[in-house]
C-alpha cells in the first residue's frame, strides 16, 4: 500500500539553522503517528513541509504517493491542517468559520452547511455554533480549529501541537475528539512535546531531535526500551538519598537517577504497580523517612536519555507554552 507519508532525508535550512537535517519518516495508512520532540527539534517545520507551506531544500517528501513539491495541489486536497495557533476568524461564528473552509474546499453552499453542522455536532460545539468565536474559550477555539481541518474530509489530518497551552480539562476533551476521528478512519500526523499525549493518541511514535528522527516504534516498543514507567521516591532528608537509591535502584534493569536539589530519586521500571509495591517495601526496610512515593510516566528527557544515551539539550527544554520551531 502507498504510505500516507514517506519522507526521505528531508532537509530544510532557515539561514544558518538546520530545522530539518535529513529526516526520515514513513507513516502507513491506518496509523496515527506522533512526532515527539523538544522545542526546536524541527517538528513544526516538518508538518509545514507536509502541508506544502515550506519547501524542503533536499530529500523527498510524498503524501499519499504525491510529491509535495511537484504536486502541491494534489497534496492539499488530501490534508487538513490545524496549527499551533487557532487560525479561526474571531469576528465570525463557529458555523460561519466552518462553512467558509468547506466552501474553499469546493463544496457548494448546501453541503458546506451540512458538513459544518455535522462537524460542530461531532466536536460538541453545537450550542456555541452561532456565537462569534471572539466569545469562545481557548479550548473551544482549538476544537473549532480542529473542526476547520475536518470539514474538507481529509485523508490525512495534520495536528501541530494540538493541545499546547490548553488547561488539563480542555486537553482531555480534545484528545477525545481526536480519538473519535481516528476511529472513523482518518490518518493523523501530530506533533507534541508530551510523552503522555503521544502515548494516548498515537499508534506510532517518531522521536526527533535537531531535525532528525532518533528513534521510532509503537508506544509499547519504545516503552520496552525506556521502561514503561518511573518509580520516584521523594525523601525527607537529603542524606538518605544514597541509601534509597541503592535499595530501590536494584529493583529493575534501570539505573537510579538522583536529584540532590529536590531530594528525589527515580528509577525506570517495566511492570509499574508490582515495582511500586516493591519500592515501598524496600524503602520501609531501609528505614528511611519519605515524603512521597509515586509511579509516573517517564518524562521526555528520560526517554531521550534512555533511547539516545544523551541528555536533552538544555537550550531545547520543553517549554510549557507555545512557540516551537
Amino acid at each position: 500500500m502507498t504510505p500516507t507519508i514517506e519522507a526521505r532525508g528531508v532537509t530544510k535550512r532557515f539561514g544558518k539553522t538546520r530545522a530539518l537535517d535529513g529526516l526520515d519518516l514513513v507513516a502507513e495508512p491506518g496509523q496515527v503517528v506522533a512526532v515527539l520532540g523538544p522545542n526546536g527539534a524541527g517538528k513544526t517545520t516538518f508538518v509545514r513541509a507536509v502541508a506544502t507551506l515550506v519547501r524542503p531544500d533536499r530529500g523527498s517528501l510524498r503524501v499519499g504517493g504525491r510529491d509535495v513539491m511537484r504536486e502541491p495541489e494534489a497534496v492539499r486536497r488530501m490534508i487538513g491542517l490545524a496549527g499551533q495557533f487557532a487560525a479561526v476568524e474571531p469576528a465570525m461564528t463557529g458555523r460561519e468559520n466552518l462553512e467558509m473552509v468547506a466552501r474553499l474546499f469546493g463544496q457548494d453552499r448546501r453541503s458546506a452547511r451540512a458538513n459544518a453542522t455535522s462537524v460542530l455536532e461531532q466536536l460538541g460545539l453545537t450550542d456555541a455554533a452561532d456565537r462569534l468565536v471572539r466569545t469562545y474559550s481557548g479550548g473551544m477555539r482549538r476544537k473549532l480549529d480542529l473542526g476547520a481541518s475536518l470539514v474538507g474530509e481529509p485523508r490525512l489530518l495534520l495536528l501541530d501541537e494540538p493541545t499546547t497551552g490548553l488547561d488539563p480539562r480542555s486537553r482531555i476533551e480534545l484528545w477525545d475528539a481526536i480519538r473519535s476521528l481516528v476511529e472513523r478512519g482518518t490518518d493523523v500526523l501530530l506533533t507534541t512535546q508530551y510523552l503522555d499525549e503521544a502515548d494516548h493518541l498515537a499508534t506510532h511514535i517518531v522521536i526527533v531531535d535537531r531535525g532528525r528522527a532518533v528513534a521510532s516504534g509503537t508506544p509499547a516498543e519504545l516503552k520496552r526500551r525506556v521502561g514503561g514507567s518511573v518509580v520516584e521516591v521523594h525523601v525527607r532528608h537529603r542524606a538518605d538519598l544514597a541509601r534509597v537509591a541503592s535499595a530501590v535502584g536494584g529493583l529493575d534493569h534501570g539505573e537510579a537517577q538522583v536529584e540532590e536539589a529536590t531530594r528525589r530519586m527515580s528509577v525506570s521500571v517495566e511492570a509499574g504497580t508490582d515495582r511500586l509495591m516493591a519500592a515501598i517495601r524496600a524503602v520501609e526496610a531501609a528505614g528511611v523517612e519519605i515524603d512521597d512515593v509515586a509511579l509516573r510516566q517517564p518524562k521526555l528527557d528520560e526517554v531521550f536519555l534512555a533511547l539516545t544515551g544523551q541528555q536533552l539539550d538544555e537550550t531545547a527544554q520543553p517549554a510549557p507554552a507555545k512557540g516551537a520551531a
Partner: protein, 268 residues
C-alpha cells in the same frame, strides 16, 4: 461524518475562493465597529482642522479653499484607509490564517485577490462617508454630475492600485506592528503633494517631487473633474491631462506591486 463524499476533486475556482476570502474580510471589518467609528472620526477631525484652522491662511488661487481641499482630502484618504490593509494582512500571517488558506486546495492568488476585493469595497464605503462630510463643511460641485461620478470612479481605481502597495508592505513586514510602522511612509507622500496646498507655494527643490508624484496627479484629476473650468485656470491643464496621467500612475503601481506581492506571498 454524516455525509459521505469524495471531497473536492480539483482546485476550487478562483472566483469562488476570492469571494469567500473577501466575505470574511468584510465581516471582520463590519463586526469591529471600533475600526469604523474611529476611522470616521479621525478623518472628520483632520478635515475640520484643515478647513477651519489652517484653511484661512492658505490661498488656493481662483478656488475657494474648501473646494480645493476636499478633492485632495478625499484622495489622500485612500492612502490613510489603505494603511489598514497592510496591518490586516500582516495580522493574518501572524495568526496562522494565511497558513490555513495556503494549505487549502484553492488558487494561492485568491488569498490576495480576495483581500483586494474586500478592501476596495470597504474603500468605496469610506470614500462615500468622506465625500458626505466634505459636502457638509461647504464643498460644492462646479462641474457636471457625470464628471463627478467619474471622479468617484477614479478614486475607487486609485484605492485598488494602492491596495497592492499596502499588501506588499504587509507581507514584507510580517507582524502587524511592523506593518503599521512601514505604512507611515504615506505621510511624506500625502503631505508633499498638491492635496492640501498649491505646489507652487513650496520651495523649488520640493516642487519637483510634489508636482510629479502619483498622488498629485490623482488629486488634480479629481479636482478638475469636480471644479469645472475654474480648476483649469488654477491648475494649468484640463481634466483629460490629469485623468490620463493619474490612470497611468495607477497602472504602474499595480504593475509593480501586484507581481511583487504575489511573488512574496508564494515564497511563504
Amino acid at each position: 461524518m454524516a455525509t459521505i463524499s469524495l471531497g473536492a476533486q480539483r482546485t476550487t475556482d478562483l472566483w469562488t475562493s476570492t469571494l469567500v476570502v473577501a466575505r470574511r474580510a468584510v465581516l471582520r471589518f463590519l463586526r469591529t465597529p471600533q475600526l469604523i467609528v474611529l476611522g470616521t472620526i479621525q478623518g472628520a477631525m483632520f478635515l475640520l482642522i484643515f478647513r477651519y484652522v489652517f484653511g484661512g491662511a492658505i490661498g488656493a488661487g481662483g478656488l475657494r479653499y474648501v473646494d480645493f481641499l476636499v478633492p485632495g482630502f478625499v484622495t489622500t484618504g485612500v492612502l490613510f484607509t489603505g494603511m489598514g490593509a497592510a496591518t490586516a494582512i500582516a495580522e493574518d500571517l501572524e495568526q496562522g490564517f494565511v497558513d490555513r488558506l495556503r494549505s487549502l486546495p484553492i488558487p494561492r492568488s485568491s488569498v490576495l485577490t480576495g483581500r483586494a476585493l474586500a478592501d476596495t469595497a470597504m474603500h468605496t464605503w469610506s470614500l462615500a462617508i468622506t465625500v458626505a462630510i466634505g459636502f457638509a463643511v461647504g464643498f460644492r460641485l462646479h462641474g457636471s454630475v457625470p464628471d463627478a461620478l467619474a471622479a468617484f470612479g477614479l478614486l475607487v481605481v486609485f484605492a485598488f492600485a494602492f491596495e497592492w502597495l499596502f499588501v506588499t508592505l504587509g507581507l514584507i513586514a510580517g507582524t502587524a506592528q511592523a506593518a503599521q510602522g512601514m505604512a507611515l511612509l504615506v505621510f511624506p507622500l500625502t503631505f508633499v503633494s498638491s492635496a492640501y496646498v498649491p505646489v507652487d507655494t513650496m520651495p523649488g527643490w520640493l516642487q519637483g517631487f510634489a508636482a510629479h508624484q502619483p498622488l498629485s496627479y490623482m488629486v488634480d484629476a479629481v479636482r478638475s473633474l469636480t471644479q469645472g473650468p475654474a480648476a483649469q485656470t488654477v491648475l494649468g491643464h484640463g481634466a483629460g491631462f490629469y485623468v490620463l496621467r493619474s490612470l497611468l500612475w495607477a497602472a504602474v503601481i499595480v504593475a509593480v506591486f501586484a507581481p511583487l506581492a504575489v511573488a512574496r506571498y508564494r515564497r511563504g
